[in-house]
């Protein structure tokens, strides 16, 4: 008996098949997904964009500052969770990902698919939060969608950076430490991510202004500000885009390395 030569499968075809699997599962879990990732931003919008301005505790113009931050937060949070949570489960307990690790492509492609899936889910979350926030807060002065190329660039770069960060955290952190990940990494990142205040405002506290630069979320928030509310002072564009590119590269490198360690013993 001879082995007939097998027609090699195009990696792109396998990649799309694996992505379709993730999208099928994500579509079924859409309501849970939206609650998980959008509830927190929506609660903040309700309190700081609706209740406090009504009480006169916060000036009405604050919604213009806050909206881009909330969109950035939804994008980043859902991208990170969409990758990190399934990675922890798959590698930690269920080993479900093994059927994809046995597909006839380099295993980095399986990791890359997870990142792309995370970006797509981040975009869905951001697109969901934007109109809801607008609905809760009322008209937002200075909101503009004219700078579409920049908006797309920030969304895709920011989504990829956080999706890759999810890959790194999901494969690098033990499942028992998941609570720790949220309280030690995610929560401070949200608070010091320039989501609820512009970076320029930190000039009043110069130490913080430089310290927050280690926070990846700062660049997504400021990028959204530059794209959605160009009238508000924001970080220089070049700095935002350069930082996002560097962060994406860094987290992809760390994430793929950690993925390798878990995928092969």
């Amino acid at each position: 008996m001879t082995v007939e030569p097998l027609a090699p499968v195009a990696p792109s075809r396998v990649f799309i098949a694996i992505l379709l699997r993730d999208l099928t599962v994500a579509r079924r879990e859409l309501p849970y997904f939206l609650v998980r990732t959008a509830l927190q931003p929506i609660l903040f919008v309700t309190v700081f964009g609706f209740l406090l301005p009504r009480m006169g505790l916060i000036p009405h113009g604050y919604s213009t500052t806050m909206l881009p931050g909330v969109v950035a937060l939804s994008l980043a949070l859902s991208a990170i969770q969409s990758v990190a949570l399934p990675m922890m489960q798959d590698f930690g307990f269920t080993k479900e990902i093994e059927d994809r690790l046995l597909s006839p492509v380099p295993i980095h492609l399986v990791a890359a698919e997870k990142v792309v899936g995370g970006v797509l889910q981040g975009i869905v979350a951001a697109l969901f939060v934007l109109p809801v926030a607008r609905l809760i807060m009322g008209p937002i002065p200075g909101l503009s969608f004219r700078n579409l190329p920049l908006l797309l660039a920030v969304t895709i770069l920011g989504g990829t950076a956080f999706s890759a960060m999810g890959l790194y955290l999901g494969t690098g952190i033990a499942p028992q430490q998941i609570g720790l990940m949220f309280s030690v990494i995610v929560a401070p990142m949200i608070m010091f991510g320039c989501t609820y205040y512009p970076w320029a405002g930190l000039s009043h506290v110069p130490v913080m202004k430089w310290l927050v630069l280690i926070n990846p979320l700062v660049y997504v928030s400021e990028g959204m500000r530059a794209a959605l509310t160009p009238g508000i002072p924001h970080m220089p564009l070049l700095m935002i885009l350069a930082a996002l590119v560097l962060l994406t590269a860094l987290f992809m490198f760390l994430g793929l390395r950690a993925f390798d360690k878990r995928a092969m013993s």
């Binding site: 001879t2 082995v3 694996i18 379709l20 699997r21 059927d99 046995l102 006839p104 092969m264 013993s265």
Partner: protein, 329 residues
């Protein structure tokens, strides 16, 4: 071309990291804390063989299958599956193999049939064709009625059959099964054996690890007995059995310590070895059952009464005990 070939294969796992604890001085790392899971293993499995890897837990069976299925890195040596190198061309290896894991790991977010359809698409098979194959496979595995069920609604045996169906969904040349019958009830085990025989009859190469002697004996054309990563014996089950020493094993259980009868037993004609373990006297003898009256007398001479007598013909189990000094399970 061989379906599988390994040359001086070696796998060493690094020593597990020792964690420091406050107040407790870190223990010094033992000199050889690293674990040699596979040690200079040379194997050649021909196409169409039903090949068994037999050994106790921790013998290196799962590591060996992990290497051949591209999931474990090689420390030294080479391994080829269907002519493709597992280290330099893992994607080609993966396109030719089907893998049934030790513990079922179905995709729990998908239904039973979706598990098969999506898996087939990972191998470049179109959805329509994948669905057609999936239905056929589920029928053959006898779980077609569960087609649209959630995976969690399947019993352990059914999940194992789903794993076999999944492994076959891209029609692989070589099928690997890592202890596929562990945890199955006897009936599920027998029906799995039937499925495996059928796969083999279709011309596929089957590589199965197990620690059940009977399973290895019944199914495999050739058997590799491994322990502590080393190949101890390799042949057909029939030839291996003839290599088992001492012919028949007679086990006599007394109502007290059996050592008093061991010396007398050793002196008997045709006895190659006799050993007492608590109340059990184990005697390897060419005379088999003929020896029983003398053994009973030897015990009674010291006031012992016989509780039980067992005869075991030469088996893979007795061979394994003689090779490794310990029992398989």
């Amino acid at each position: 071309m061989n379906a599988i070939e390994t040359r001086s294969l070696r796998k060493v796992y690094p020593a597990p990291a020792i964690k420091k604890r406050r107040g407790v001085p870190a223990p010094a790392a033992p000199p050889s804390a690293e674990i040699v899971a596979i040690d200079s293993l040379d194997l050649a499995v021909a196409e169409g063989e039903f090949f068994g890897v037999l050994g106790p837990n921790g013998a290196g069976k799962t590591t060996l299958i992990g290497i051949l299925t591209t999931r474990v890195r090689i420390t030294a040596g080479e391994a080829f599956v269907s002519g493709a190198n597992v280290t330099t061309d893992p994607a080609a290896v993966r396109s030719r193999i089907g893998v049934v894991p030790q513990r079922p790991n179905p995709d729990r977010s998908l239904s039973v049939i979706e598990n098969l359809v999506f898996h087939a698409t990972y191998f470049g098979i179109g959805r329509a064709e994948a669905a057609r194959r999936g239905e056929k496979l589920l029928e053959r595995m006898g779980i077609a009625d569960k087609m649209h069920a959630k995976v969690d609604q399947l019993s352990g045996g059914q999940q194992q059959r789903l794993m076999i169906a999944r492994a076959l969904s891209h029609d692989p040349k070589v099928v690997f099964l890592d202890e596929p019958t562990v945890g199955l009830d006897p009936q599920a085990r027998l029906s799995l054996w039937e499925i495996l025989r059928e796969l083999h009859d279709q011309g596929r190469t089957i590589v199965m690890s197990t620690h059940y002697m009977e399973e290895a004996d019944q199914l495999c054309g050739r058997l590799a007995i491994i322990d502590q990563g080393k190949l101890l014996a390799l042949d057909t089950p029939a030839v291996l059995k003839t290599k088992a020493p001492g012919d028949t094993l007679v086990e006599v259980t007394f109502d007290g310590d059996a050592s008093v009868a061991a010396d007398a037993a050793r002196a008997m004609e045709g006895v190659s070895s006799a050993e007492a373990r608590g109340p059990i006297l184990r005697v390897f003898s060419k005379r088999g059952g003929e020896l029983i009256p003398s053994l009973i007398n030897a015990g009674e001479a010291h006031g012992r009464v016989v509780r039980d007598i067992q005869l075991s013909r030469p088996s893979l189990e007795t061979l394994f005990i003689s090779l490794t000094g310990r029992k398989l399970t």
